[in-house]
Symmetry: C2
């Protein structure tokens, strides 16, 4: 059943769950209050930390919102490559006077998945989305029985088919334009991590391969682009970078400022910060270390945590992970609720323009 | 002025000029006859060869069509890197028993640009498009005075602004999804050639930066995608891979077959065949040599010409340049005129669907 028919939003505008601080209760609540669908990031938090945010959000809005979970990472990690990368970063660590230790790596590799699921089944939220893999049919079934709509992030036709077979209610189709992590179900170290498919090309292929409602994500910043993905078969659009710039977002001020700073002209996919391909503004850290970063998530994420914190504390954007989608230059620092309204108005205008073209071409 | 107002097509469907044999008079004429805009490829031909194709096409249709030209390549080429790559390919050359000589490299670096322009000014065609750079204002002015509509291929906002400043009549906005060569104005060897921007993200940024009509290109295979790019501000869509599969296209039968062969699941941008980033189906040649190929166009194009010919003659798709966009799996081997009609019908249907959604959301 469609997301709109489920009453999940008034406008087909979903705020992307941005783990690491950008997504937070005030942002999610503002988006949902305005008629979009706000999202909390369950990733990189304890189960209790996630639950506290859910309760805070419920205190700010009675509208539906979602929570995103990371799938546990079970792939083989080349420990020698991880150690080599630790050597690569030794100079940075000395400069910033931080440790490159990975504390409690066993506890963090599964990101508290089972504990978070238990909470979400016990005290359900309207939507739960998944990144970095496909949940088991049993997990999706438990959530559905709890009354929750489930969405699985996919970046290929094969992943879309797997998610439909597992019983997802809808799919978030993520193009290569997207900021932050690509939600690929398995990071294949044999690829260079830049082989992703553009949103519009991916959307048509997924649309013809599965019957589920689709949420389109990747580089979307304007209502006209929302009209575009709807025309291509999506029911809704998910925007991350667009909401990152809002005052309610918890992103670091330097991160927000960098989105439209002409010094940061390009984005690239890199494993430099986390060990998994993620798109960010090209800066010194990415240029220097990206070529050497192994496919080792979340080991590298934890290894660079101290470096990223120290760079932010020093006000050094060249050492931070400046996640951004390819549309970053179009970011608008509007309050989130106002941004939802502007996007909805632009969407309606683009649809009217399409209609007018249609009438002309038929006359 | 818009392309439609200029009477250049009935449907906003442009057939991409595919140099190297795929574009040919029967394909261009069939597309134009059906109400789209057919294109001939001026590149990799002598000026007279181009002119013969123009005359053939005129014999097949009285509808408008276009001719594409490559800009002369003036950037510095690292000759040592070219020689190193010749060494890399020595094994292939021995296997196929071909020479890696670059005959007449001086004559081919400019692709006969001035001679071709002289013909197109003397005996004008309705549309001339440009790839690999921006023509001078004087060139665009000469063509305009000859009654020709000019289009410049762009892959970034900066290139779009340069083309508008030079006096282009419209822009072909090429996303990273596109098959074959990226039309970047200058191939920067400092980048890895995979930093391109997805079509929808690029389109909105260009739309807000220039006032010219835009033709959207990159991974487009279905009418719903055409409706999408129109919603995002393009006037028309350009399709290459979609027409490559048509019986009228001059592409090698193995190339056509490979587009939907499950053995070729992915595309990548590579400098392996030509020395400039181009997207093709990943095969043995690309995997083995792509990582070592220098930014040296057209030197590498000419160096690999014999190898590519020999591979085709041997029926070995693993050694051919299998140019393809990211939508290749959706290729349909329909006659070109029928494909134009199917695309136009799908476009109209997608527009009606958008209209219906709009009416529902307003009710």
């Amino acid at each position: 059943m469609s997301l709109a028919a489920n009453g999940l939003f008034r406008y087909p505008i979903v705020q992307a769950p941005m783990a690491g601080g950008a997504s937070c209760p005030p942002l999610a609540a503002a988006v949902s209050e305005a008629g979009g669908l706000g999202f909390l990031a369950g990733g990189y938090k304890t189960a209790d930390g996630m639950y506290q945010e859910i309760k805070q959000t419920r205190g700010l809005t009675r509208r539906p919102f979602g929570v995103n979970l990371f799938l546990p990472q079970t792939g083989h990690v080349d420990q020698a490559a991880v150690e080599a990368y630790r050597g690569q970063l030794a100079g940075e660590a000395g400069w910033y006077e931080v440790s490159l230790a990975e504390e409690d790596i066993i506890g963090t590799c599964d990101d508290g998945y089972e504990a978070k699921l238990a909470i979400l089944v016990e005290d359900p939220v309207p939507v739960v989305s998944f990144t970095f893999g496909c949940p088991t049919p049993a997990v999706l079934d438990r959530l559905r029985k709890a009354g929750t709509h489930t969405t699985v992030t996919v970046t290929s036709v094969d992943e879309a088919r797997a998610a439909q077979a597992a019983g997802a209610d809808s799919l978030c189709v993520q193009g290569v334009e997207a900021g932050g992590h690509q939600g690929t179900h398995r990071d294949d170290p044999q690829t260079d991590g830049t082989a992703g498919v553009g949103l519009l090309a991916l959307l048509s292929q997924v649309r013809e391969s599965v019957a589920l409602p689709l949420i389109a994500a990747g580089g979307l910043m304007r209502g006209a682009q929302l009209a575009a993905v709807v025309a291509a078969g999506a029911e809704a659009a998910q925007l991350g970078t667009a909401f990152l710039a809002c005052p309610e977002s918890g992103a670091h001020p330097l991160h927000k400022k960098a989105l439209t700073d002409p010094m940061f002209a390009h984005t690239e996919l890199t494993r430099a910060f986390s060990g998994r391909p993620a798109r960010g503004l090209v800066n010194r850290f990415m240029r220097e270390h990206g070529p050497y970063a192994p496919a080792a998530y979340p080991q590298i994420h934890h290894m660079t945590a101290g470096l990223r914190k120290a760079a932010a504390a020093a006000g050094d954007a060249q050492g931070m992970a400046l996640w951004a989608g390819q549309g970053h230059r179009l970011a608008r620092a509007l309050p989130a609720g106002q941004l939802v309204e502007v996007l909805a108005a632009e969407l309606a205008e683009a649809r009217r323009a399409v209609e007018a073209t249609q009438m002309r071409s038929e006359s």
